[in-house]
Structure formats: structure tokens, C-alpha cells
């Protein structure tokens, strides 16, 4: 089959990269390229693209985590460390935050930023694949994955892996782009995502393609109910979600008992 032949059906060995169907290994490589490319401009682009609202989404995630002093937290696909910075302050010196990401460019940018903010001592950095987490069973009180699950090739494997490393009583929080709840918002959001966003990416980060992928990958990501069911299948209990900004983003929560 030539490279240009569209493959309609997702098979055992293929998956989505935005709207394209690619081999699973190829997706890993392509996602890595996107994040190596955007790492340096990641924070400024987040502020621009979301008009700063991503800070409120993350704040809401922390508020819903129930995090307390002394707890162990895994900030998975934590990228440039926004959540880790907040968790670090709350868990204090008796607690521990692990910032994990599959991409070393993102981790290095994150570590540098947190060091500059004076966040040291209770934070460690680990390069890891969410599908096969390198932590002992029952380790963490809280696992968060913010704007990360979308880029994971095997999301079910990642959810099972997260379940394994959570302590009984621990909770998972998934902050991710989701499905807007009204037609009107959905249309406006489409225009913004496919016309304005890649141009902004091109202008600010000289990388329109990565932001085209971003827009496409958001459309391919499971909607609110589907993700909730996936969490339940992985073993999580009392799963629920809250829509933010009209469902453009959703925060899913689930417990391991």
C-alpha cells in the first residue's frame, strides 16, 4: 500500500494521528516530534490559544484533587509542570510530586521552569510512557493527566497502568479537551481551531503543522461519556465528569477502592 492511500479502518496495528491513520509506532514518533517542536514555546502558546483560560482549568483540577500535605502525587504527561508547581506547594516537604512525561524536551523545559520558580526538594522528574508506568503498585494518592491522554496511543493501557500505581482510595483526574455541549459553540470552536489556531502556531512558534495536529487530535479524542466508560472499564469507580468552558474541556474523576 502506498503512503498516499487512505486507510479507513483502524486496525490492530494502526491508530489515529490527528485525522490521519498511521502505524502505532509512527504515532509515537510523530507525537514526539510535535512536542520536541513546541516545547520551548509551549507555555506562551497555551496562554495565547486559550486566552489564559487554561490556568483556570488547571486551578479547577487542583481544587478537585483533594490534595493534602504529605501526599504523593503523579503529574503524568505533566509537560512544563504547571500542575506540579501547584501540587508541590500544597504537599510540602513531607509530600512528593513526580513530574513524568514521555518527551524529554518537555521535561527539560519543565524542570528548568520549576527550578527558576524555586520549586525544588519535593519534586522529581521521570521520563516514562503512560502505557507502562515505572512505579510500584499502590504508590500515589493522586494521579493527574492534563492535556496528555489525547496523545497516548493505547489509552486503555494507560488507564490500567494508572489504576495499578494508585493507592486504594486514590483518585485519577483527567483534564482534557472534550466535546462542546452546544451546536453553536461547536461551530465557533471549529472555525477558531481550524482557521485561526494553526495560523497562530505558525506565527508564534513557526509551527502551524503541530497546531493543526492539535486541532485534529481534539476532534478524534473520545467524548465525555466514552472516556467515562473507558475509565470504568479500567477499574475506576464513582467516575464522573464536569464540563468546563461549555465542554471544550472536561475534567473526569475516578477512584480506586
Amino acid at each position: 500500500m502506498s503512503e498516499n492511500t487512505p486507510i479507513e479502518q483502524e486496525t490492530e496495528n494502526t491508530t489515529h494521528f490527528g485525522y490521519k491513520t498511521v502505524n502505532k509506532e509512527e504515532k509515537v514518533k510523530k507525537v514526539a516530534e510535535v512536542f520536541h517542536s513546541v516545547a520551548a514555546k509551549y507555555d506562551v502558546m497555551n496562554d495565547l490559544m486559550s486566552f489564559g483560560i487554561h490556568r483556570l482549568w488547571k486551578r479547577f483540577t487542583i481544587d478537585n484533587s483533594g490534595v493534602r500535605a504529605g501526599q504523593k502525587v503523579l503529574d503524568l504527561a505533566g509537560g512544563t509542570g504547571d500542575l506540579t508547581a501547584k501540587f508541590s506547594r500544597i504537599v510540602g516537604q513531607s509530600g512528593h510530586v513526580i513530574l513524568a512525561d514521555i518527551n524529554n524536551s518537555m521535561l527539560n523545559v519543565g524542570r528548568e521552569k520549576l527550578h527558576d520558580l524555586g520549586i525544588v526538594g519535593n519534586v522529581d522528574y521521570v521520563q516514562a510512557n503512560a502505557e507502562a508506568l515505572p512505579f510500584a503498585d499502590n504508590t500515589f494518592d493522586i494521579v493527574t493527566i492534563a492535556f496528555g491522554l489525547r496523545n497516548v496511543t493505547d489509552k486503555d493501557a494507560a488507564l490500567r497502568s494508572i489504576y495499578r500505581v494508585l493507592k486504594p482510595g486514590g483518585r485519577l483526574l483527567v483534564l482534557e479537551f472534550s466535546k462542546p455541549s452546544t451546536e453553536l459553540l461547536s461551530k465557533a470552536y471549529d472555525i477558531y481551531s481550524f482557521n485561526i489556531l494553526p495560523k497562530m502556531g505558525d506565527l508564534v512558534a513557526s509551527d502551524g503543522e503541530s497546531y493543526q495536529y492539535l486541532a485534529e487530535s481534539i476532534r478524534m479524542h473520545p467524548d465525555q461519556e466514552t472516556l467515562k466508560q473507558m475509565m470504568e472499564t479500567a477499574g475506576f469507580e464513582e467516575c464522573n465528569y464536569q464540563n468546563l468552558t461549555g465542554g471544550i474541556v472536561a475534567l473526569h474523576k475516578g477512584f480506586k477502592f
Binding site: 524542570r111 522529581d124 522528574y125 516514562a128 508506568l133 515505572p134 510500584a136
Partner: protein
């Protein structure tokens, strides 16, 4: 930047899920169960199967 050995308490091999040992000389994390050595780059352990090195029999002797 040095590897923080306290991390060994919570780290596990992503393949075998068992304990890892720190090899200070080679600056690697060793999973005896599956004969894999994971690199530590600039103090950050790279605990991804595809990035690990297979430990040879000659090394073990």
C-alpha cells in the same frame, strides 16, 4: 544533576514492575528480572522499554 536515590523506593521496572537497582558506575537503573539497564540522562531516569539496554551475559559474570 545527580540521580536522587530516594526515588528507588517508588520506582519499578516498566516491564517487570519489580525493583530497580542503581548502578552508580554506569549511571543506570538495572532491572535484574528482565536484564534491562535504563539510562539516567542529566539526572532524569529514562524508564521506557525502547530506551533500555539489554544486559549481556558477559557483563553479568
Amino acid at each position: 544533576m545527580n540521580f536522587d536515590k530516594k526515588l528507588l523506593e517508588i520506582l519499578a521496572c516498566p516491564v517487570a514492575k519489580g525493583k530497580l537497582e542503581y548502578d552508580a558506575e554506569k549511571n543506570e537503573l538495572i532491572s535484574q528480572a528482565v536484564n534491562l539497564a535504563y539510562p539516567i540522562l542529566e539526572g532524569i531516569p529514562v524508564l521506557i522499554e525502547d530506551e533500555a539496554r539489554v544486559i549481556t551475559l558477559a557483563e553479568k559474570e
